[in-house]
Each structure stands twice: as C-alpha cells, then as structure tokens.
C-alpha cells in the first residue's frame, strides 16, 4: 500500500544524523539524559527536560502501542487507498508519528492500545525509515 520510493524524503541535520544512521542498520535510536535520565525524541544534543548537554544515544527496544490515528481518504502519491497515520508510544515513553504496515487500514483492524513493533523500510539511497506493524503479524 505504500510506494516507498515516493515517500516524502527527510533531510537529516547534524543533530539528527545519528537517528538515520541507526535506522540504516536496523536500530531505532533515542536519546537519554545522563543527569536526569529523561528519554526524549525527536533528537537534539541537549536534554529538553533539564538542559544538560550530557546525553547518550541508545537503541530502543522497538516495542510500542497505538496511541491514536486517522485514516486519510484524500489521495497521496506515495499511498494507495485510505491509509492510517498514527502516533505510536514506544515502551520507553516517547511518541512518534508513523504508519501501521502489514495491517488492514480499517478501524476494525486498528485498535487503540494494540501492541506494535518497529520495522524498517528503505525509501531512498540514503534514508531508511521506521514503520510499525501489529505484534504477531496481520491483525
């Protein structure tokens, strides 16, 4: 349902490069403050909770749950038919936008709070993006 070659391509910055270096090798990288231990996303070289510049990059476990979504019915060049745009909450507590792949794009299949796991898809020569799928395959 997604034509990955037509997905809008992100342009990494110096502050976000580690995230896309991670997805390229199958890691979903987050950051954690070394002082207050806040886990945060999207990437930046300081802690948004306490301002500390002592922060570390680590790989998330890749598990999450479906917080909310819409099913877009307007045509988009990269998507075939109505498709869901979702907010996923990772087990580490941060939220990210994504699509739910390997699943029907219907309210019946997409249940709030359903467990999800990360999967990676290549969209260009340089960029691999994280997507999410239902745990245990198609629901």
């Amino acid at each position: 349902m997604i034509d990955f070659s037509k997905v809008t391509t992100p342009m990494p910055t110096p502050e976000t490069a580690h995230f896309f270096q991670g997805t390229a090798i199958g890691e979903l990288r987050l950051q954690r403050c070394d002082l207050c231990h806040e886990v945060y996303f999207p990437p930046r070289p300081f802690c948004p909770a306490c301002g500390s510049k002592a922060v570390s990059v680590f790989a998330a476990c890749g598990q999450g749950r479906l917080l909310s979504y819409v099913i877009n019915h307007r045509p988009h060049p990269a998507f075939e038919g109505p498709y869901a745009i979702a907010i996923v909450v990772l087990e580490e507590g941060v939220k990210m936008m994504s699509n739910i792949i390997n699943s029907a794009q219907t309210p019946e299949a997409l249940r709030l709070d359903m467990p999800l796991q990360v999967v990676f898809r290549t969209i260009s020569d340089d960029i691999v993006l994280p997507y999410f799928e239902p745990v245990g395959g198609d629901s």
Binding site: I2, M11, P42, S68, V70, R74, A78, K95, M97, N99
Partner: protein, 381 residues
C-alpha cells in the same frame, strides 16, 4: 478594582467573505484595514503601530503607507491575532505607540498572491512526520481525536453535535457560508476526509480578512463605536509537531493561555457571557471547553450535545457559526475576535442579550500555540 488600559475602537472584516478571486492577499489586508479605519473614524495617518501575520508587518505598513513606531510580526498560526492584541495592549500601555492596526487577510480559497506552507525537509516535522503521509491540518489536527474520545468517554455523536450546534448559530447569520440545518446523522454520513472526520467536521476553506484598531482606554470614549475594553489575556506554545504533544487529549498551550487570561482579567467562568473557541475542526471546542475549565474532563461533549452552547443555551459559543460554518481562511483567529467585538458592542447578527464579558480563545498551528483575550463592555471591574 481592575481597570483596562487599552480598548478596541475599530473592528471590521473584508467587505466580502467567501470567494474573492479578484483580490490578492495583501489587498485583503488593506480592504479590512480601510473598513476598520472607517469604523473607528480614523485615517491611515492616525496609525503608529502595525501588527500582522501571514504577510510581514513591513509589507502591510508599506502597502498602506503607514510609518510605524512599533511593529509585531508574531506568526504562530491562526491565533497570531490574539497575540497581537495582547502585545499591542502592552505596547500602548508602555507608551511605545498610541494607535495600533492589526490586520489579517488570506486568499485561502482562491490562492491569489499567497505563499506556500509545506514543511521544510530538514525541519523536525519534515524529518519525523512528513514521510508518513500527512496532508496538513486534515490529518494532523485530527490525529489526537480517537484517543480523546476513548480516554474521556466522549461519543462520536457528541463530536458531531459540535457541527450541529454551530450550524444553528450560522443559520442566524446572513454572512455565514453555510446556513442550511444539519443533523448528527448527516454529519456522520458525510464524505470521510480523515477517519473519523467527515467533511462537515472540517472547517471551510474561504477568502477574507479582518482588522482591529486599538488605542488607550482614555481616548476610547471619544470614538464613534462603543469601546471594547481589553481586560486580560494569555498566550503560550507547546510543539510544532502534533506527535509530540505531552498529552494528546489536552492542550498545554490552551491550559496556560486560558488560565493566564482569566487570572489577568480577574474573572471566573460564571462571569463569561459569551465564548469563542477557534474551531478549525469539530473537536476543538471540546478541548477548549475542558482545557479552559468551563467543564470537567470528559463533559464537553455532553455539554454541547445538550444544547448548552447553542442558541438559547446558557453559554453561547461560536455565535458567528465558527470556522465550521461561518468562514475559515486558514488563520481564523481574526474572525473569532471580530465576533467577540460585535457581541460586546451589541451589533452581532446573532446577538446575545447583555454581553459584558466575552472570552475569545485561539489556537495556532495544530495545537502548537494558543492565545486568549478577555473583552468587556466595562472599563472597570
């Protein structure tokens, strides 16, 4: 006793609203500005401060031939004009300028002389949201609502009742774009735009503009129109990315802006005679009622469905018909402010009896920013 230092002495919208293909965006600003000057009995040379969003204040001042002592180009989306009112009030009170013109104009439907708004691919939303197929407000503003409905126990029918209630107001307003009655079933069976939102639950896309003129409360009594005093205000921001709201069922920016506005005005909820809550989509009045504290969490749906905010109800809400039925050019905040001014003056199409306090609450971006203005017909309280 609290005393307002600044008042709105001029207010007007563009001569036409809706489809205005014969006017560029900057001319919509000017058309509204000239109408507001006429309303106030002023000329361009009386203006020494300019604030706007969508266009730069430099461009608007130059186009109108104004040499300003003060400008504000705060651009945080549709509530920018609430922030302009707040900033202009502080500037006039501080003596930085005396008479401020705030303009809005947007060729939202006809796209005449309007800049694009796509997220830059190196911005955080360009990197972490745009790849997932968002189509702008219809898919991002709407994204939190399923979680809101589940966590607050609000039904989809209650969400649809927002559209029904506001249409009842629009039916009283000859300038409203949509004036035919609508039922909950019709709202829910309309064309799906982004599930669970149907077309009727999304705002209009129209052309138009509006302008306000503010000056000191001392001078305000000498103007032709009844002064609308600025009693209090608030503003805040949260995040430019819908996926990064701290709690997707409640807006931190709404809570902060609203609380500050009520506190600075010295009012409580029972003082409010009239309320505007920026409604780009049907769920915004639900968030607004709860985050501003007009009802407990999870009660806004029932409140609107019961008719409490409809014509004849105890808390008249979005009495021009709102962005859902009146008009929505893209940055609707100016039209909410205009309706609050009209209600306090006593000149609205669907006039509420004896409006002394009107609260006007705006959103900018997709729950990204907020501004709240408390207006009153009385200078002192």
């Amino acid at each position: 006793m609290k005393s307002a230092a600044v008042a709105i002495v001029g207010a007007a919208e563009t001569t036409e609203l809706g489809k205005i293909p014969g006017m560029s965006q900057i001319q919509l600003h000017a058309d509204a500005a000239l109408n507001a000057l006429q309303d106030a009995g002023l000329t361009l040379s009386d203006i020494d401060g300019v604030a706007t969003a969508g266009e730069s204040p430099t461009a608007v001042a130059h186009y109108l031939g104004i040499a300003p002592n003060w400008v504000d180009g705060t651009a945080v989306g549709g509530c920018s004009f609430m922030l302009h009112v707040r900033h202009a009030t502080a500037a006039i009170e501080a003596g930085l300028c005396h008479t401020v013109l705030i303009t809005h104009g947007e060729s939202g439907r006809s796209n005449v002389g309007r800049a694009g708004r796509a997220a830059a691919p190196a911005s955080l939303s360009g990197q972490f949201e745009a790849p997932y197929g968002g189509m702008g407000p219809t898919t991002s503003f709407t994204l939190p609502v399923l979680r809101f409905l589940k966590d607050t126990g609000t039904s989809i029918e209650q969400l649809a009742s927002v559209v029904v209630s506001q249409r009842q107001w629009a039916m009283k307003n000859p300038r409203a774009t949509l004036q035919t009655p609508i039922t909950i079933d019709e709202v829910l069976s309309d064309r799906v735009i982004a599930y669970p939102f149907t077309k009727s639950m999304c705002c209009l896309v129209t052309d138009g503009g509006g302008a306000l003129i503010l000056t000191t409360a001392e001078r305000a009594v000498d103007f032709p129109q009844k002064p609308v005093y600025l009693l209090g205000s608030g503003e805040s921001t949260e995040t430019p990315m819908i996926s990064q709201m701290r709690d997707v069922t409640s807006s931190r920016a709404f809570r902060m802006s609203g609380a500050r506005a009520f506190e600075s005005a010295g009012i409580t909820h029972s003082d409010v005679d009239h309320l505007m809550i920026y409604d780009a989509f049907a769920h915004l009045p639900l968030y607004g009622l709860e985050d501003l504290g007009f009802c407990a969490r999870g009660q806004a749906g029932a409140m609107i469905a019961s008719g409490e905010t409809s014509p004849g109800g105890s808390l008249p809400l979005n009495t021009n018909g709102g962005g859902l039925s009146y008009m929505h050019s893209g940055m609707y905040g100016m039209y909410a402010l205009q309706e609050s001014v009209r209600q306090v003056r006593g000149s609205a199409a669907a006039q509420i009896k004896d409006v002394n306090i009107s609260v006007c609450h705006g959103v900018g971006g997709m729950f990204a920013a907020s501004g709240t203005i408390v207006m009153s017909g009385s200078r002192f309280r």
